[in-house]
């Protein structure tokens, strides 16, 4: 390509450290490949994302990346992109649509699977007997729904496992801590809790603090398992305060660029789904993983 590729990226926002890392990686990966990346930040609103996509179409970019805030509601705007012959790549979340031709490919993990991986680990660790408290993500958000769904599947398979309390911690540390505090009080000073499952690491970090302040030992008295794999949870694991995390890589854009470049070069359509790995990490590798990650974030 002689001309620089121009990619418009409609990002959700920067609601978490993971999200900021995804944006940062997208920029870095674009620089590596000499791609001109235009980022539009939707401040968590779908309508802003749709506006951004339409704006990208009006600008005439070469490709559009979307990290969709919700799974639904993309058909008509994607149709517009398609009419303008601009390929679309979905990052980190899938969408629901009848017409799969509306986008070129999706680079995502499987959030339901993440919940499953976390659940399986816990089931194995506790021999299928465990009273779990769950810290949900923001009510109604798709990762919250899916990570719950995946985990629930495993719970259903293990009669000895039970979710004794579940509440929303809004994906934040502060709420995670507050909710965990009340869980501990509601479950007999934490004695009734075998493990906490948090839909993201931030809430888990908050929960760990709550457990400590209640005079219990996180990671021992109460097991901690969560999802995302941000540096801080690796740090907690290396200190023995958390037990497992399921990684969600922030490098979604890299594979997307590669697919795009290949497509532009010889028109080779990539597979519809480029799945990223949902690897489980445990304390044994935590220290090394922390060192490896702390700069990407």
């Amino acid at each position: 390509a002689d001309k620089k590729l121009v990619v418009g990226f409609s990002q959700i926002g920067s609601e978490s450290g993971w999200r900021a890392a995804e944006t940062k990686t997208a920029k870095a990966e674009a620089d590596k490949r000499g791609i001109d990346l235009k980022i539009s930040d939707a401040q968590q609103k779908q309508e802003n994302q749709i506006k951004a996509v339409r704006s990208f179409v009006a600008q005439g970019v070469d490709a559009i990346f979307i990290a969709p805030v919700v799974a639904t509601g993309w058909d008509s705007v994607l149709k517009e992109a398609k009419e303008a012959k601009i390929p679309v790549v979905l990052l980190d979340r899938q969408i629901e649509t009848k017409d799969q031709s509306l986008y070129m490919t999706a680079v995502t993990s499987d959030t339901v699977h993440e919940g499953r991986v976390a659940g399986e680990w816990l089931a194995k660790q506790t021999g299928g007997k465990c009273a779990v408290v769950e810290l949900q993500g923001t009510v109604g958000s798709s990762p919250a729904i899916n990570r719950k769904k995946g985990f629930d599947e495993i719970v259903a398979k293990n009669p000895g496992m039970k979710i004794v309390r579940t509440q929303s911690g809004d994906f934040t540390r502060a709420k995670g801590k507050e909710v965990m505090e009340s869980f501990i009080k509601a479950e007999n000073g934490g004695k009734g809790i075998c493990a906490v499952y948090a839909h993201n690491d931030d809430m888990a970090v908050g929960a760990i603090q709550a457990i400590k302040e209640a005079g219990l030992k996180p990671g021992k008295d109460i097991l901690v398992v969560s999802i995302d794999g941000v540096p801080d949870i690796f740090k907690a694991m290396s200190e023995g305060e958390a037990n497992a995390t399921v990684e969600l890589t922030p490098n979604m854009a890299g594979p997307a660029y590669d697919a795009l470049i290949a497509f532009k070069k010889d028109g080779k359509a990539p597979p519809k789904w480029i799945q990223t790995e949902s690897a489980l990490f445990t304390p044994d590798t935590a220290k090394a993983e922390y060192e490896r990650r702390k700069d990407a974030y």
């Binding site: 418009g8 990002q11 926002g13 920067s14 900021a20 944006t23 990346l37 235009k38 980022i39 539009s40 930040d41 401040q43 968590q44 609103k45 779908q46 309508e47 802003n48 749709i50 506006k51 951004a52 339409r54 704006s55 990208f56 179409v57 009006a58 600008q59 005439g60 919700v70 799974a71 639904t72 509601g73 993309w74 058909d75 008509s76 629901e96 649509t97 009848k98 923001t138 009510v139 109604g140 958000s141 798709s142 729904i145």
Partner: protein, 328 residues
Amino acid sequence: MTGALQRFLPLIVTTAVLVVGFLICATQFPNFASWRVVANLLTDNAFLGITAVGMTFVILSGGIDLSVGAVIGFTTVLLAVLIEHGGWHPVPAFAVALIAAGGFGAAMGGVIHVFQMPPFIVTLAGMFIARGLGFVLTTDSVPINHPLYGELNDMALRFDFGLKLSLPALLMLGVVVAAVVLAHWTRFGANLYALGGNRQSAELMGVPVGRTTVAVYGLSGLLAGLAGIVFSLYTGAGYSLAATGVELDTITAVVIGGTQLTGGYGYVVGTFVGVLIQGLIQTYITFDGTLSSWWTKIAIGVLLFVFILLQKGLLVVWAGRGGEPAEA
């Protein structure tokens, strides 16, 4: 300066600000000055515009309605549930949604009047309730696949010179026109301004305060419901978290449009322009495309400030006085 110019000055200034802003953008970005961008501005902001019209009425009457975003979200969920889960045809579903939204607004108006509670709080509670009801219906985002949705989405008015007005855009323009008539050529409109001017005096002049209060919140709810329908067309789905924070966007649009938050002064058309100014700010930021999440926020804040300052400044320069009536 003639009386007319004097009275419409805020409106003229706001419009001038929009035009100047557009011209500045057009010189910065090659593809900006196109009918497509104009059409996008209208379509993308249709639901916001419709909601903002309702908000304008509420604010003119001296109140505020924080529930509109939640009502939009609830409406989309209700539609999705009725159409997809309940197998309804969209048209009766629309009717039910409008009635529900209007009724909800009217109920808030009733509480505000009967119990003499501040609108800010009642509608804040209304916001919680509407969002909560949405969650209770379903927390999932539900796609709406009815064929009518596709047809409605394809409907558009095309002009020879290249402008394509989508159904949402047309609906918004229609609502704005109807609202102008309602505000200035009906007794209800006059009562609204009266209420916002001074509730006590309005009561002493025989304005039916209760009825008007209920009606204006009902209207705001109804328009939020209509905006919800537009939103569900726009996204083809129902989602309980849709349109979060829209209340603040609409209030901002109303105020940028020159309406006084204390009530009694302002124009519907101003709000329309205010919505477009906000859309313009967003389009500018997207076209620029280099701003990180935080710089986006800072830029929105700064641009908002600049627009308000520009407005105040122009008013002072043109009218030779401090933009009176300054807020109370």
